[in-house]
Amino acid sequence: MRVTVISPDRSVFEGEAQAVVAPAFDGQVGILPRHAPFMTLLGRGELRIKQDGAAHRFTVDGGFLQVVGDAVRVVAEHAKEA
């Protein structure tokens, strides 16, 4: 699935990935390919993206996460590569 991480001043990450674990407002959510359309608010915490065995980690705070079709869009108020 296609994952993009966008912060207000730039795109932080863009690429194909196998899993996303994000800090939602009420706890962690895991997104795997073929997830149903979904939208949630993000809290503060660590966002992990698994891509071909490697894991990308970001610190995010605020914003939202959206799953549309085969695309996951993380739109964070603050996002920084950890």
């Binding site: 993009t4 966008i6 912060s7 207000p8 001043d9 730039r10 795109s11 939602a24 407002f25 009420d26 149903a36 359309p37 979904f38 939208m39 949630t40 608010l41 605020g62 914003g63 939202f64 959206q66 549309v68 869009r73 739109v75 108020e77």
Partner: protein, 291 residues
């Protein structure tokens, strides 16, 4: 006809001016590049926010959210934030922005609305100081690289005032960055939020699993949307300033070159005339001696 020494002095003076404008042109070009990158980089986020609000927006929601509350009739109290640059030498850039700010303000006041002016950037503030008009906020510290934090500081108090009903509308006057040579001054209403029209993704909201509810998501995202509108206005104006300065300095450099060419031509003509005259005098003198 001018004396050669004077012409030489003027040529030298115009040459050194050209050196300065040429340098400023190059500085503006490199700053423009970076500022333009920031404008482009800010687009996906704005687009994502607009899409989500368009997806989730329903007229019923508007009733419940203060930020979406559309005032009935004419707004009674509005704030106009106008952005200008801190530095000059960028052609008509700032005066166009000031003109737009005055037009917007005059429009509102003609309709019986009380307007608070918020100035960002030294040039605009200077103008309104000169006209003795009081500014609610005057900030000169934003500069070339506006940040999220600047936008937040500017817009947060306005959102609170809007929510409590102290303000009925908030407008931003900024330079829209279409391209480095097209930066028209633009007035944008940021409050109440005008719901972005649903694009191709419209009407999908019913299929989403929403957590928490649509209400809460919209409530959390609206302030981000407003803040981002402000941020983009700042970033686009900063880029527009560099574009305008580059154009202005390029024109100045070209004019200086033209001027040097014509001065040099006059100088050479004067110099030759002088030599010719000297020869004629010498010849005349020796003829007279012979005679």
């Amino acid at each position: 006809m001018a004396r050669p020494r004077e012409l030489r002095r003027r040529i030298k003076s115009v040459e050194s001016t050209r050196k300065i404008t040429k340098t400023m042109e190059m500085v503006a070009t490199s700053k423009l590049k970076r500022a333009q990158d920031r404008v482009v980089a800010a687009r996906p986020y704005a687009q994502a926010l607009a899409n989500v609000i368009a997806d989730l927006y329903t007229p019923e929601l508007a009733e419940r959210f203060p930020l979406l509350r559309q005032p009935k009739g004419v707004p009674k109290k509005a704030a106009v934030l106008f952005i200008t640059s801190n530095r000059g030498l960028c052609g008509a850039f700032n005066s166009n922005l000031i003109k737009e700010a005055r037009r917007t303000t005059a429009d509102l006041e003609a309709r019986g609305c009380q307007v608070d002016l918020h100035g960002i950037g030294r040039k605009g503030i200077g103008f309104f100081r000169y006209t003795k008009r009081a500014l609610a906020v005057a900030r000169q510290d934003v500069g070339d690289r506006p940040s999220q934090k600047h936008a937040e500081e500017l817009v947060e108090p306005l959102m609170r005032q809007f929510e409590t009903g102290l303000l009925d509308a908030v407008f931003v006057v900024f330079a829209k960055f279409n391209s480095p040579v097209s930066t028209p001054p633009t007035t944008l209403q940021i409050l109440p939020v005008v719901p972005p029209s649903a694009g191709k993704a419209g009407g999908k909201s019913s299929n989403y699993i929403l957590s928490p509810s649509a209400d809460e998501i919209v409530g959390a995202i609206l302030p981000l949307y407003v803040r981002n509108a402000m941020y983009r206005a700042l970033v686009e104006t900063a880029a527009g300033e560099q574009g305008a300065r580059r154009t202005a300095m390029k024109n100045a450099t070209d004019s200086a070159s033209d001027m040097i060419d014509s001065l040099r031509q006059t100088y050479n003509r004067v110099r030759q005339a002088q030599i010719t005259q000297e020869i004629a005098e010498i010849v005349g003198g020796s003829e007279a001696l012979k005679g």
